[in-house]
């Protein structure tokens, strides 16, 4: 019989365990196949890397990210994430600038992107199915409608924050099961359908629900070909697959959003559980994505999907301004699958169920920002008032305002394409990748610069060839991030639209970093005048 290795007494906070499956659910929603995935896959119509191999290869590399974040959490649990890890290891200034840009400012840009996903997977298909064709097309194309959805997205997130995480955790679980049930039905339709029935269903539904002209299938193929659709489902050279990754990480770079930060007097188990929750989410989402698109290929035809994407986005991006897509809406694969039936009730219920992928996921977008704003206020880098909570509704009015107001301004710039903002989609991922790079560098140096902290952690024994696992994983993930940043910023093949050649992109990102730096230096100067040395906040007190 094995002997006891630990005796615990009754003391506050000593919890037993937590469920890996729960952690999996939240990580699974973070790399959200239906919202982030389908949205960004549809924009990759002109890339030569196969979608499925790109998902798989990037997923394998992103396991290194999972190791890095599970490791950081194991060494410094309950510390509050990137901001505190970076501030502690790399210094307060670096931590503040990277955290507020990556977890706060850039979320302004995500507001119109979230809204764009919401209108295309919720408003447009449901209104069309309900027989409100004009309203559906208004939501699909009118900038005012898109902006309205931006406002509604902010309202939804505000409600989530006011309800609190306890309620939202329940909502998320509900959405997980309902959303996946919807996806299962979509997959069953695709499994048992065939291309002939799809063509007939498309013709019947697209003309009736969204006013497409007869012959929509062939017209879509022709429009896509004219736009230059080439993206394959499978295959592509390794170089082409890597060049598709700066796009696909918009979808799968986020398994760490599901990480759990709790647990006391725990050890390697918590590291393994956190790793498992995130890694399973990454693996299963990748497998699910591959399965979905293999079924799409079988019944709808990959050719049709990629041509429909090309026809839609080349028109939206202004490359073919005189050629509206024959299928005059975003080619949402779940809706295309539901064209296999003409039963509107079935269509409505399944599309509504699929929208749970959005509602179970979107609520947390401003929560991370709220946490960073609060942490910065506690460090006196922002005024105390921004961390205040309205007592009646328990809503952090100020921090929400700091998200919603600039978020709506950026939304307006994006929606009406002012100052070239509509080209900035991938900047939303770039800025967070820079923040991740900061945390990854912190993880790489952690075993050497915070030796005591690392040695006293549950991951100290995990080594590869004598080198700490967190350092090895950190080097791999940092190399990946640097590759992504090179492709985004230098973009030698002119693929991503946010390189140094895009002045709007450079100015937008530059303004964000300068704003963050300005706030940090300004606060430091102001606090110094009031006798507070901001540098002392993260400085370690000597032990001896």
């Amino acid at each position: 019989m094995s002997q006891s290795t630990l005796f615990l007494r009754k003391a506050t906070g000593l919890v037993r365990s937590w469920s890996v499956f729960d952690a999996f659910i939240y990580a699974f929603f973070s790399i959200n196949l239906v919202t982030l995935g389908l949205y960004i896959f549809s924009q990759m119509w002109y890339l030569e890397g196969g979608l499925i191999p790109t998902m798989i290869v990037s997923g394998v590399i992103i396991v290194s990210e999972v190791v890095v974040y599970a490791g950081l959490i194991a060494v410094m649990p309950r510390a509050g994430g990137d901001y505190v890890w970076q501030s502690r290891i790399l210094g307060g200034g670096v931590g503040f600038v990277l955290a507020v840009t990556g977890w706060w400012f850039i979320l302004w840009l995500w507001t119109p992107l979230y809204a764009d996903m919401l209108r295309h997977i919720f408003f447009v298909p449901l209104l069309g199915i309900a027989g409100l064709k004009d309203a559906a097309l208004w939501f699909a194309w009118d900038p005012g409608a898109w902006f309205l959805v931006c406002v509604l997205t902010c309202v939804f997130v505000t409600i989530v924050i006011a309800l609190g995480m306890k309620t939202y955790a329940v909502v998320q679980k509900f959405c997980f099961w309902v959303g996946n049930a919807g996806l299962l039905v979509v997959c069953l339709f695709l499994l048992f359908g065939n291309q002939e029935s799809f063509k007939a269903g498309l013709e019947a539904n697209a003309t009736k629900l969204f006013g497409a002209a007869p012959g929509v299938y062939d017209a879509t193929i022709a429009a896509g070909q004219a736009a230059g659709a080439i993206a394959p489902l499978l295959g592509g050279s390794l170089a082409a697959i890597f060049l598709a990754m700066p796009y696909i990480v918009f979808f799968n770079l986020w398994p760490n959003w599901g990480a759990t930060l709790y647990g006391e007097v725990k050890g390697a188990d918590d590291f393994k559980k956190n790793f498992a929750g995130m890694a399973w989410a990454l693996g299963i989402t990748t497998a699910l994505g591959a399965l979905l698109f293999l079924l799409v290929n079988k019944t709808i035809g990959w050719d049709f999907v990629t041509n429909a994407n090309a026809a839609y986005w080349s028109y939206r991006w202004g490359y073919t301004p005189d050629t509206p897509p024959p299928l005059y809406i975003w080619p949402y694969p779940a809706l295309l699958a539901m064209f296999l039936t003409t039963n509107p009730a079935m269509q409505f219920i399944v599309i509504l169920a699929m929208s749970m992928w959005f509602f179970g996921w979107a609520g947390t977008v401003f929560l991370s920002s709220t946490r960073v704003i609060f942490a910065a206020a506690f460090d006196r880098l922002l005024p105390e008032v921004v961390a205040s909570v309205e007592p009646r509704t328990r809503t952090p009015i100020w921090s929400l305002a700091l998200m919603v107001v600039p978020g709506l301004i950026v939304s307006a710039l994006f929606v009406w394409d002012l100052l070239g903002f509509r080209s900035l989609t991938l900047a939303s991922t770039l800025v967070i990748a820079v923040t991740y790079l900061g945390s990854t560098i912190a993880a790489i140096v952690l075993p050497y610069t915070k030796k005591d902290l690392y040695e006293a952690s549950p991951i100290a024994k995990y080594k590869i060839a004598g080198i700490p696992l967190i350092t090895v994983a950190g080097v791999i993930f940092a190399a990946f991030l640097i590759f992504l940043l090179y492709q985004w910023l230098i973009d030698p093949n002119n693929l991503y639209g946010i390189s140094y050649r895009n002045v709007s992109s450079l100015v937008f990102m530059g303004v964000m970093y300068l704003l963050a730096l300005g706030i940090y230096l300004g606060a430091r100067f102001y606090r110094k005048g009031r006798g507070v040395d901001v540098d002392l906040i993260y400085k370690e007190i000597p032990v001896e």
């Binding site: 365990s17 507070v532 901001v534």
Partner: protein, 314 residues
Amino acid sequence: MTRIFFATDIHGSDICWKKFLNAGKFYNADVLVLGGDMTGKALVPITQMPDGKYKATLLQQQFILNTEEEVRDMERRVGSRGYYPFRVTPEQLAEFEADPKKVDAFFHRQMLNVLEKWMALADEKLNGLEKQCLVCPGNDDALDMDDVIRRSKHVQLAEGKVVDVGDGFSMVSTGWTNITPWKTYRELPEPELAAKLEAMIPKSADMSRTVFNFHCPPYASQLDEAPAVDENLNVKDAGRSLIPVGSTAVRDVILKYQPLLSLHGHIHEAKGTARIGRTLSINAGSLYEQGVLQGVVVDLDPRKGIRSYSLTTG
């Protein structure tokens, strides 16, 4: 002006205690306040094997310790996380496993021993520094810990007292909390906690110069949000379901008396600040297992009240 450094919930961490004693110099603070829960939560046996070597398991990883130096290093690592290391033979370990009361008694002795060593270290380090050092045990600290603190020359036991902290400011302290799922040493139902708090607050005190040092944070203040647990103490929803677990009695007395400042701990994850009416309430939080001393530096100005404050991660 009086500068207070407040930290809390160091739970047996040697490193955090040493940092706390050095915080006066480091932050140039006049008054050091430890808000409770000084004692550790875990015992880690270092078992002697038949070949004379030792083995220990820390954070679910087993270590074979070949030399006395390695054993001492392991004891240091265990102690730095706030756990109590102890050397045993396999036979002694078997006796502990067979008799939970023996474990409890040993645990208790270890807590007292370590606290005695800490007080001795404090007397040595604070000697001649002219800094006030107040300690108020929390709900996880056994009641006889108070006697050990009382015997210290330079550490003042603050439990239940009104203490002058300089410049006309006074501090009222208690480590008692509302009922927790863990049934710890200093817990009371809310009505009894309210009566206890009322009894210790001087009715004639100038509340604009009074600090409440109450281990338990006020209810629904954001300083008391902890992950919800089920009846078996498993964390619900992988820690996402945060619920308020603070005390309504603490909240009520803060709202009723509106002291200048209230300092709290107890909920390690809920580091932050909040306004309860006019009162600035602060939970310094805790990262004791990592040897990180979270705290707050507050400057009290006789004319302006709170001149400034900063939450620190030292």
